[in-house]
Amino acid sequence: MQNGPRETPIVSAQGVGKQVSTAAGSLEILREVDFRVASGESVAIVGVSGSGKSTLLGLLAGLDLPTAGRIELAGECLNDLDEDGRARLRAAQAGFVFQSFQLLPGLTALENVMLPLELAGVPEAASRAAQLLERVGLETRLEHYPRQLSGGEQQRVAIARAFAMTPAVLFADEPTGNLDAATGARIISLLFELNAERGTTLILVTHDPDLARRCQRTIRLEAGRVVSDEH
C-alpha cells in the first residue's frame, strides 16, 4: 500500500468511517479509510456493489458527513462546516457527473449548464455556458430539453455543467454506467481531455476496468475498507 504524493493534497481522508443505523441495528459501510489525492491527479475508486464506493464519493464531496475521521477538501475541513457551508465549498471547488446524468428536465441544455454559474452569481453565465457546450460538441443543441437529447448527449451536457465553475475537483459516479460501449468511450475521452486542459483533479467511481486503467491511480474497496491503492 502506498500513500499519495507529499505536496498539499486537494482531497484527504483520515481514518474515515461511516455507520448508519437500520432497523436491524447499526451497519458499518466504511471503516478507517485513509488517503490523499494531489492536485491534478486522476483517481478511480473501484470495488464490487455494496463495497461503499458511492458512499465514499459522497463523503469526499461533502454531500454527507462521516461518523468517524476527518475529510478535507481544498484545504477546508468538511467536518467543521454546516450543510450550507459545504454547499458553498461545493459550488466553488467541486463538479459532478452522475451515472443517470441528473439534468433538470424543465431546463434547456444551456440553462442546465448555466445553473451552477447562476447559483454562484457569476456574470455572463449564458456566454460561458454556450462556450462549454461548444467545447463538448453541442453548439447546435443549446435550446434543446434533456428529453430531446440522446443519453450520450445528455452526459455531455452534464460534463459541460461539471466544468462550468472550473472546479478544483471533479467527482464522477459511474459516468459511463448508462451508456453503450462506443458512446461510453467517447464520453471518457472527453472527460480526460477536459481534465488535462483545465488541470482538474478527477475522482471517479466505476465498474469499468478500461475507465479505471486510464486513471493514474486506482483505490480498491472491499467491505468498506481500502484493500489496495496503486499508481
Binding site: D64, D84, R88, A91, Q102, G106, M114, E118, L119, M165
Partner: protein, 833 residues
C-alpha cells in the same frame, strides 16, 4: 369466511402502516374538510327547518290560519264555532313605540285569551336569559317584547313604554312566539300586547294598515270540512295557511344566505374532491409494487380489491365522523354569526344530518378516490421484474364521470331538482372553462419574465410553466375563492354607503302614514311650526286590483315570470289633481285640473308593462264589498328611490271619497332633530313614523351578519384550496426532493432553494390574486349596473391587495408544504432515491 377475515386484518394493518408513513394524511384531511363543510351547513339548515317546519303546528300557532287585511265575516266565525273549532284572533300592525326621546318602529301583535291555540309562548325575565313556558297572554297594561327592542329604546325589563296613548309595562322578554313571521315588518322587533289595551291606545283607525290573523284548531275532520266550506268564500285579499301548506319563512335574507352557504360548501366539496383524487392517485401509484407482488404470489384481482376497498371504507368512516364533529362545532359558529336573524331557540339537529354527513364522506371518497384505487387491481404481476410496467391509464370518462356523478348527487340534495342540478353543473363547467382562459393567459404572460430571471427564480417558476393544466386549475381555485371573498367584502362595505351617497342631500328619511283626515290640518301646522318641509300629503285608500279587462290579473303574468307583488296584496291608492313631482307621463294625458269623479286612472308604466295593460283598458278595483271600474288614460314613470310617496295607481279627485282614507307624506329630519319625533308621536298617536335611517341600519346589520356567515363558509373553501395545493405538492414531492438535492449538490444554499419556492408559490398566489381582481371588478360592475342600479367606481385597492394578499397567503402555505425539500440531504442524488 376465514380468508375474508384475514384480508380484512391485512387491510387494516396496511392502512395503519400507510397512515404512519403519512401516505394518507392529505386524503384524510381533504375528506374531513369536505364533510365538515357540508355537515356544518347541513346541521344549520336542518335545525332551522326543524325549528320552522317539523313542529309547524306549534309554530303556526294553530292548525289553520286565515290571513287578510280585513276582519273576516262574522258568519265565518260562527260556522267555525258550529263545527267545534277553537278560534283566536291576532291583530298585527306596524306602530312606533316610545320611551322618552327614543322611538322605534315595531311589529305590534295584539292577542286575545287562548292564544296560541297550538305551540307555546316562552318568556324570559331578562334579555337572552333562561326562558319558561307561559300559559297566558300579557295581562292588560303589560307587554312582552323581543330582546332587541330594549337597547333600541334604552330601557330594561320592568320599565314602561308608550304605544299611542297608553303606557305599557314591559313585563318580560319574548323568547319564542309561534306564528307566521315574514314580510317587511319582520325587520321590526315584535311587541306582544293584550287586545284589551288596543282601544285605549288609539293607534288603529279606519284605513290603518292591519293584518288580521284568525287561528283555528280542532279535530282533523272538522278542520278539513271547515276548510272546504271556507275556501270558496274567501276574497282575493284573504288566504288560508295550514301546517303543511305555508311554512313561515324567516325572511328573504336568511333564505338566500342558506342558498349561498349551501353552494359555497359544495365548492369546498369540489375542491376537496380534487385533492382527494390527487391523493388517491399517488396512493395507488405507491401501491403498484405491493399489488404486483401480491399478484405474483397468486392473489386474484378480487383479492386485491378485498384488500384495498375496506381501507377506503374505514378511511371514509373515520373522516366522516371527524368531519361531522367539526361540522357540528362550525354550525355553532354559524348560528352565532346569524343570531339576530334567527328565531329564538332552535331544536337540536336530527340524526338525519349525521347520516347525511356519513353519506357525503362515502360519496365524495367513492366519486374521487375509487377510480385510481380500482387501477390497483390491474397491476400486472410481471411488474416485479419490470418496474416500468404500470396498469392501463384510466379512461377520462370514468374519472370525470364518477366525480361529476358524485357532485351531482350532493348538489341534488341541496337543490332537490334534477333540472336545477343539471343547470348548475353545466353552468359551473362553463364558468370554469370561461375563467380558465384568463388564468391560462396570465400564466402564459408570466413566461415573458423568463429571460430576466436568475436561476433560483426561474427554477421556481418553471414548476408552474411545466404543468400548465395543474397550474391553471390551482390559479382558478384560489382565484375564485379570493374573488368570492372580495365581492362579499365589497358588497358589505360599500354598497349601502355608495347608495346613500348617491342620494341627493336632504332626501326624505322619514315616511309618515296613518294621518287621519281630521288631524290633517293639525299635522301640517305641526310640521310648519318646526320648519319641516314635507313632500306633500297624499290621501291613501286601500284597495285591490281585481280585474284587467274582465280577467284575473294573475292570469296576465307571462309564463315563468314572477307575479308582481302589487296584485297579491292591497294597494295604496291615491288621488291627485296634478301630476305629482318626480312622476313623468310616458303615454296618454293627465286629466284637466277641474276633473271630479271621472272613472279614469293613471298607472305606473313598469307594472302596466308586466301586466300587459295599455291605454283604454278597463281595470276593476275592489274595496271589501265595493268595487270600482275605471279606464286607464295615462301611464307614468317614477323614481322609487326618490323617497317621495310613490303610487302604482293615481285617480282623479272625487272618485274614492266613500272609502276610509288616511294621509301619508315623507320629510327630511337630520339626526340631531330626531328627538322631535317623540313630540310628534305623543301629539298624533295614531300616526306611524317609519324611520328609514333606522331601517337602513338594520339592513346593514343583517347584511353584515349574512356576509360574515358566507365568509365563514368560504374559509372552508380556502382550506380545501390549500388541500389541493398540498396534494399537488405531494404528487410532485419525489421529483422536487430530487431536484432540490441536485441543486444542493451543485452548490445551492438553502436560502436559494427557499427563494425558488417563494418564487413559485408567490407567483401562483399573485396570478390567482390578479384573476380574482379581474373577476371581482367585472362581476361588481355588472352587479352595480344591473342589479343595484348604482354607479360603480373602479376599486383600485383590489388590484394591489388581492395579488399581494394572494402571493403572501399561497406563498407561505407553499413554502411550508415544501420545507422537506429544503432540508433534504443532497446525498439522495447519488443514491438515486
Amino acid at each position: 369466511m376465514n380468508t375474508r377475515l384475514a384480508h380484512l386484518r391485512l387491510a387494516l394493518r396496511l392502512l395503519l402502516r400507510d397512515w404512519r408513513a403519512g401516505e394518507l394524511h392529505i386524503l384524510f384531511a381533504a375528506l374531513v374538510i369536505a364533510v365538515t363543510a357540508t355537515t356544518a351547513i347541513g346541521f344549520f339548515t336542518d335545525r332551522l327547518q326543524r325549528g320552522m317546519v317539523s313542529q309547524s303546528a306549534g309554530l303556526l300557532g294553530g292548525d289553520l290560519l286565515l290571513r287578510g287585511a280585513r276582519a273576516p265575516d262574522a258568519q265565518w266565525l260562527e260556522e267555525a264555532g258550529r263545527r267545534g273549532l277553537d278560534h283566536s284572533r291576532v291583530l298585527e300592525f306596524p306602530s312606533v313605540v316610545l320611551r322618552g326621546d327614543d322611538l322605534q318602529l315595531s311589529a305590534i301583535r295584539a292577542v286575545t285569551d287562548g292564544y296560541p291555540l297550538r305551540g307555546e309562548l316562552r318568556v324570559a325575565e331578562r334579555p337572552y336569559g333562561e326562558d319558561r313556558v307561559v300559559n297566558s297572554i300579557p295581562p292588560t297594561g303589560e307587554v312582552w317584547v323581543e330582546a332587541r327592542l330594549l337597547p333600541l329604546l334604552n330601557m330594561e325589563v320592568g320599565q314602561s313604554l308608550e304605544l299611542g296613548s297608553v303606557r305599557l309595562r314591559v313585563a318580560g322578554v319574548l323568547a319564542f312566539e309561534p306564528g307566521p313571521g315574514g314580510g317587511f315588518f319582520a325587520l321590526a322587533p315584535r311587541v306582544l300586547m293584550n287586545q284589551a289595551d288596543l282601544a285605549r291606545a288609539g293607534v288603529l283607525q279606519p284605513g290603518s294598515r292591519v293584518a288580521y290573523q284568525d287561528f283555528f284548531a280542532g279535530e282533523t275532520a272538522a278542520l278539513a270540512g271547515y276548510r272546504d266550506w271556507l275556501e270558496p268564500r274567501l276574497d282575493p285579499g284573504q288566504s288560508l295557511v295550514d301546517v303543511r301548506g305555508g311554512q313561515p319563512t324567516v325572511g328573504g335574507a336568511l333564505e338566500r344566505a342558506e342558498q349561498y352557504l349551501g353552494l359555497a360548501s359544495l365548492v369546498a366539496v369540489l375542491l376537496a374532491g380534487v385533492a382527494i383524487a390527487m391523493g388517491a392517485r399517488r396512493y395507488a401509484e405507491r401501491h403498484f409494487d405491493v399489488s404486483a407482488m401480491l399478484r405474483c404470489l397468486g392473489a386474484a384481482q378480487r383479492d386485491i380489491l378485498a384488500l384495498f376497498l375496506p381501507q377506503l371504507l374505514v378511511l371514509a368512516l373515520l373522516g366522516s365522523v371527524l368531519g361531522i364533529l367539526l361540522g357540528y362545532l362550525a354550525q355553532g359558529g354559524l348560528l352565532y354569526l346569524l343570531r339576530e336573524l334567527l328565531p329564538g331557540k332552535l331544536p337540536a339537529p336530527g340524526p338525519l344530518s349525521v347520516l347525511l354527513g356519513l353519506l357525503t364522506g362515502l360519496i365524495v371518497l367513492a366519486g374521487f378516490a375509487l377510480p385510481p384505487v380500482l387501477r390497483l387491481r390491474q397491476v400486472p404481476a410481471l411488474r416485479v421484474l419490470r418496474r416500468d410496467l404500470t396498469p392501463m391509464p384510466l379512461s377520462g370518462w370514468l374519472v370525470y364521470g364518477t366525480a361529476i356523478g358524485a357532485m351531482a348527487v350532493l348538489m341534488w340534495r341541496y337543490t332537490g331538482s334534477a333540472a336545477l342540478t343539471l343547470g348548475l353543473i353545466g353552468g359551473t363547467l362553463a364558468a370554469l372553462v370561461l375563467l380558465a382562459l384568463p388564468a391560462w393567459l396570465l400564466l402564459r404572460t408570466s413566461r415573458l419574465l423568463r429571460p430576466g430571471l436568475g436561476a433560483t427564480w426561474r427554477q421556481g417558476f418553471q414548476h408552474l410553466w411545466r404543468q400548465p393544466l395543474l397550474s391553471v386549475s390551482q390559479i382558478l381555485a384560489f382565484g375564485l375563492t379570493f374573488m368570492a371573498m372580495a365581492l362579499i367584502a365589497l358588497v358589505r362595505g360599500d354598497l349601502l354607503d355608495d347608495w346613500q351617497q348617491q342620494l341627493p342631500a336632504e332626501t326624505p328619511n322619514h315616511f309618515v302614514v296613518n294621518v287621519l283626515p281630521e288631524q290633517l290640518e293639525g299635522f301640517q301646522a305641526f310640521l310648519r311650526a318646526r320648519d319641516i318641509e314635507d313632500s306633500g300629503l297624499y290621501p291613501l285608500v286601500r284597495g285591490r286590483l281585481a280585474a284587467i279587462e274582465g280577467e284575473d290579473p294573475a292570469s296576465r303574468v307571462a309564463e315563468g315570470e314572477e307575479t308582481p307583488g302589487a296584485i297579491n296584496r292591497e294597494l295604496n291608492l291615491t288621488w291627485s289633481r296634478q301630476l305629482p313631482s318626480g312622476n313623468r307621463l310616458t303615454e296618454g294625458h293627465w286629466w284637466p285640473a277641474d276633473t271630479e269623479g271621472e272613472a279614469v286612472v293613471s298607472m305606473e308604466t313598469g307594472l302596466a308593462q308586466r301586466l300587459g295593460v295599455g291605454l283604454g283598458d278597463e281595470l276593476r278595483f275592489s274595496f271589501g264589498a265595493d268595487s270600482l271600474r275605471v279606464t286607464v288614460t295615462s301611464l307614468r314613470s317614477l323614481r322609487w328611490d326618490s323617497f317621495q310617496p310613490n303610487f302604482f295607481m293615481i285617480f282623479p279627485p272625487g272618485l274614492l271619497d266613500d272609502q276610509p282614507t288616511t294621509y301619508m307624506t315623507s320629510f327630511y329630519l337630520p339626526e340631531t332633530r330626531k328627538g322631535e319625533l317623540a313630540v310628534l308621536m305623543r301629539e298624533f298617536p295614531a300616526v306611524t313614523v317609519i324611520d328609514l335611517d333606522r331601517i337602513l341600519n338594520q339592513v346593514r346589520i343583517i347584511l353584515h351578519q349574512v356576509t360574515l356567515a358566507v365568509e365563514f363558509v368560504l374559509v372552508f373553501v380556502l382550506l380545501a384550496g390549500f388541500a389541493v395545493l398540498y396534494a399537488a405538492l405531494q404528487a410532485s414531492l419525489d421529483a422536487r426532493l430530487h431536484e432540490g438535492a441536485l441543486l444542493r449538490t451543485l452548490g445551492a444554499s438553502r436560502r436559494q432553494l427557499r427563494a425558488g419556492h417563494v418564487a413559485e408559490f408567490g407567483l401562483l398566489g399573485l396570478l390567482a390574486g390578479l384573476l380574482a381582481a379581474l373577476g371581482t371588478e367585472l362581476v361588481a360592475r355588472l352587479l352595480y349596473a344591473r342589479v343595484f342600479d348604482l354607479a360603480y367606481g373602479a376599486q383600485w385597492w383590489l388590484w394591489w391587495s388581492l395579488p399581494l394578499g394572494g402571493a403572501l397567503l399561497v406563498g407561505v402555505a407553499g413554502v411550508w408544504a415544501t420545507r422537506r425539500v429544503v432540508r433534504q440531504s443532497p446525498l439522495v442524488v447519488l443514491r438515486g432515491l
